[in-house]
């Protein structure tokens, strides 16, 4: 299905720019580092990208309705801790995973309910819960990491299927397809697009915008929970300080992929390409041995460029 979508002419038109950027970066880094284009490294990029990509899928939904969720990094960390606590208390892995997903959903429900019900801007609510969820994580663990030893969890983040494809890559592709269908092929997704484009008009055709907002934050929460499981797996531990700043990477991925910060336009597929760009840049910078703080600067600049492109697109769309 994914391949068929890429072959589509209309889709190429909408993603041509980012695909080109991705290709350009790959060419650049293949010149700068002999290791970059090796199959193994490419698969590593995919695996590294998986955590941000899944967060960014959720973020795409929120941005689509013109809202924002800055708490996803904290939800991710908290969910990892829930997993660690459950497992170390002897719970079955399936039950633990279900509990983690429910925890993510509840965190999203809280964000969505508080913002929709009390009409508080989501920016404010999620800045607040960014601290709250992070704080809960520290409180539970006393700021200490919890080791993860469950073999299934470790399999999810670190092993390869048929000794070739990393499991996280498989998970990302499955979630990509599910989110893509949900966002662009269902009534729910269409309503989200309408709400982002014009909330009043959507309300006047009978869309319950509050309910929709709550549902969307639940989706983001669950996406963060899945990322949290993968993160815990890859780190072999649940870390209360994990994923700090990941919310910005997720937003940058979505915006790079063409999702509008002001709502009404975006695709999960674009977001995935955006996340790959972020991943290639991260990986490439590591390979050429660029110090971490310079990497921070580069990523900051990328976010500015992405938002600039978004603003310019919006202007050309609305006649200028």
């Amino acid at each position: 299905m994914g391949l068929k979508l890429f072959a589509d002419k209309k889709l190429f038109k909408s993603y041509g720019g980012v695909l080109l950027a991705l290709l350009g970066l790959m060419v650049l880094f293949s010149f700068l580092s002999p290791h970059f284009l090796k199959t193994n490294n490419i698969l590593t990029v995919f695996a590294q990208v998986s955590i941000i990509a899944i967060l960014a899928f959720g973020m795409t939904f929120v941005l689509m309705i013109g809202e924002i969720d800055l708490s996803v990094g904290s939800i991710l960390a908290l969910c990892g801790i829930v997993l660690g606590v459950m497992l170390s208390n002897g719970f079955n892995v399936v039950i633990s995973i279900i509990a983690v997903l429910i925890a993510g959903a509840l965190a999203g429900l809280f964000n969505g309910f508080v913002s929709a019900k009390f009409k508080i801007p989501t920016f404010i609510v999620t800045v607040a819960t960014m601290g709250i969820f992070r704080g809960i994580g520290y409180a539970i663990t006393d700021a200490r990491p919890i080791q993860i030893e469950n073999s299934f969890i470790l399999f999810l983040g670190n092993k390869k299927l048929f000794n070739l494809i990393p499991v996280p890559v498989v998970i990302v592709i499955v979630l990509l397809i599910i989110s893509h269908v949900l966002l662009s092929k269902t009534k729910f997704g269409r309503q989200a697009k309408m709400v982002g484009g014009n909330k009043v008009a959507a309300e006047y055709v009978g869309v319950n915008t509050k309910k929709l907002q709550i549902k969307i934050f639940i989706i983001t929460g669950i996406a963060a929970a899945v990322s949290g499981i993968l993160m815990a797996s890859r780190l072999y531990s649940a870390q209360p300080n994990a994923a700090g700043g990941y919310e910005l990477d997720a937003i940058a991925s979505a915006v790079l992929g063409g999702t509008s910060l002001s709502g009404g336009y975006g695709t999960v597929l674009g977001t995935f390409i955006g996340a790959l760009i972020m991943g290639v840049i991260n990986n490439g910078m590591n390979l050429i041995g660029m110090p971490y703080f310079y990497q921070q600067i580069v990523k900051g600049l990328i976010i500015i460029v992405a938002v600039f492109i978004d603003v310019r697109n919006k202007e050309s769309m609305l006649g200028k």
């Binding site: 092929k185 009534k187 697009k193 014009n198 008009a201 959507a202 055709v205 009978g206 009404g264």
Partner: protein, 497 residues
Amino acid sequence: MGTILEMKGIRKVFPGVVALDGVNLNLEEGKVLALLGENGAGKSTLMKILSGAYKPDGGEIFLYGEKVEIKDIIHARNLGISIIYQELSLSPNMTVAENIFALQEPTRFGLIDDKEMNKRTKELFEQFEIEISPTKMVKELSISNQQMVEIVKALSTKPRIIIMDEPTSALSNKETEKLFKIIRKLKSEEISIIYISHRMDEIFEITDYVSVLRDGNYIGTVDTKKTSSEELIKMMVGREMDKVYPHKDFKYLKDEKLLEVKDYNKKNYFHDINLFVRPGEILGLYGLMGSGRTEIVQGIFGILKKDSGEIFMHGSKVNIDDPFSAIEHRIAFVTEDRKNEGLVLTSSVSENTTMANINKILNRFKLIDENKEVKIAREHVENLRIKTPSIYQTVNKLSGGNQQKVVLSKWFEIEPEILILDEPTRGIDVGAKYEIYKLMIELAKKGVGIIMISSELPEILNVSDRLLVVKDHGIITELDPKKTTQEEIMSYITWKR
């Protein structure tokens, strides 16, 4: 007295559409030129080029005899060109004076001199006999007063050319008179005006000559005194049109109450509303802006929650407390403000047409079936003759009349039994108006009951079968449009409490 502005062979191309092709315009000093044309004829595009918002792809502009290239809006303003937009462009949270002197505030010791600013605003207002306090917040003003502020703001830069894009669409008759007084005063000061309007009576009252555009082409210019509305309409639509209003040969299909509203009340919004519509009937609701007419229909549609009262459909009581339940009872509501309340501007024509009834385009797996969607959108584009390069075009690029047709398509999809239209032809030209009236009649023939709000007297008299007059948030009388006159209606409106 000579030519002050000449635009020659102006061309403008948008992706997929030639918006203007070889358009000429000639403006003389101290004269009022009417710019007339259907939706999408290119009037707004031409004016945007003149005011620096768009750059032309071809043609020349001569200002005061010299060839100029207008770079941007500031440049246009410095050249003495000022534009009054159809959509208000004021900042609601600033005072009247602050809006008028925005970016050119008088200063004292480097700080904004509020006193001086308010004084100068007051002087400006006195000059034009306008009674608005300079220190009031703009959001506290009525729409029509906001429009007056907008006009004064445009005048404050002392322009030599003023473009007025449908300046009266939000004004009452009295205020329109005031505007005309201002225009006459400006004319006496040798200021030239380009006046865009669809109201024939205004064009004949205030303009000196008329230039007509059609489909981006220049049709011609005529002397207002030597032409007739028939000739102008013919130039505009390119075909004979013996009537502005199509004929409806029945009052209603069945003498029963399709929708009945009983004792509807909402504090501060509307009170004691009693009305009914029969199948096939067009019920007119006339009232000035601020009379509460929009609030009444918002109450019926569930946007405003009633305090008390009942609604009946086909004689049985129904509960409507939000738009969702209204739509479930197949009530459709075409709002007055299509851009902010009706359309998703960043979405395509096809997505907008299907948004009120997404269920209809789902397949058996509950997924959107693009073939169904495309088919529905194409049908509407064809049947309603929506002018768009494709159904994938985002609706913000369409003209007002075509946008309104997209809004109508959207509501047709729920197969409404009751269609509420709030100022359905506002800002739309004669040709598109005629088409919209015809659509209304077609729906009426199928048994739909229609409630139409209008503040245009000729429209409400010619289109509605029965007429309610709204004032001070209540219905004050019912009239027969075939027997009453504009004067009689106005006497109800202006009658002191």
